[in-house]
Symmetry: C2
Subunit: 217 residues, 2 copies
Amino acid sequence: MSNFGFTHLRLVNPYDVAFREARSAIRAQHVLEGAEVFDSLAAAIADCNLVVGTTAASGHRDLHSPLYRVEAAGSLLREHLAHSPAALLFGSEKFGLSNDDLSHCHWLLRIPTRAEHGSMNLGQAVAICLYELCRDAAAVTHSFDPAPRASAEHYERLTELLLDLLARSGYTNELTSHSTALKIRRLLLRAAIPDADAETWLGILRQILWNVKQTAP
Amino acid sequence: MSNFGFTHLRLVNPYDVAFREARSAIRAQHVLEGAEVFDSLAAAIADCNLVVGTTAASGHRDLHSPLYRVEAAGSLLREHLAHSPAALLFGSEKFGLSNDDLSHCHWLLRIPTRAEHGSMNLGQAVAICLYELCRDAAAVTHSFDPAPRASAEHYERLTELLLDLLARSGYTNELTSHSTALKIRRLLLRAAIPDADAETWLGILRQILWNVKQTAP
């Protein structure tokens, strides 16, 4: 909750030992110290006009309520939270929400887990639901600005240096072979060198070449 | 991992006590029993041609590598996993990945946590990353088929029954008042009764009306 900026934690008849231990959570003290304890679910959700339950069920149980995947539930909850308070209900680690609890819910959500292993760790389920509420769909399309690649001029100088070096090192023996030059140029192009790294690579090749020339017999 | 169907767990110098305890995880035994242990990160990732690191950093540390939000990282990883193996690296609960570890990564991802509380619980961070890999963007738009509402005919019968009941109960005293009828009709329309519930509501009103008629003086 603290990671994603949610502060209103409400607990219904919490297990005191676990709750007191949790209070030591680093950097989340403000959430736990502000937590409100209720002795009934009805009291805990009284001021909310949308109540959403979480369930691992994908059909075994007769749910009586609409069931949405968390991807869809997230956008509906976000819309609602823009103007009104909503409650997102989680059951106990062991049993989840009871049928009584579920009857208070306008609708339910589930995380798309495998059918063979549907039930999740409580903390992980909460983290995923709150992440989905904070998720920025625009971040998917806007983030992929690949680093600009080195210019053709840089590539050409790299190719020349590498060809010189390879000839002097005995890797290629026909210095003038046109097809060797083409192979090396294509080899370098496939390596996708970022523009910001071009000078470093040129420096490396120059240094090796200088050293090879110095030690040449 | 088991919840989302990921099975290849690789551990580099794990803390044995914690690892042995984790092996008792219900329904995730197949993941833990199949886990491979390595004594160096290089050995653990040797057969992967994409290595992605996770970090809580949002700029404090000089990262030297491209850093994407998990929303964007998820789609890039998914594309890669369609044809080649990738490694997703998580550091220890306490310290995260070291600079040595990060130098093995092609790029890094971060979960969009609050700047004031960036560092996440390890299990929750893993859950969110794997959820993002399984997330179905289409589920957002395809899930909201609201239940069809009761027909105008049902609404009209409900309005009539309720008007009759309210008049007999003394809630309205002018049975013939046209504006009262309009108010009640609008009141019911705003209640958005699902089609599947219309007969139940009609039955309830009829029963109450019958009872009121029986007990009328």
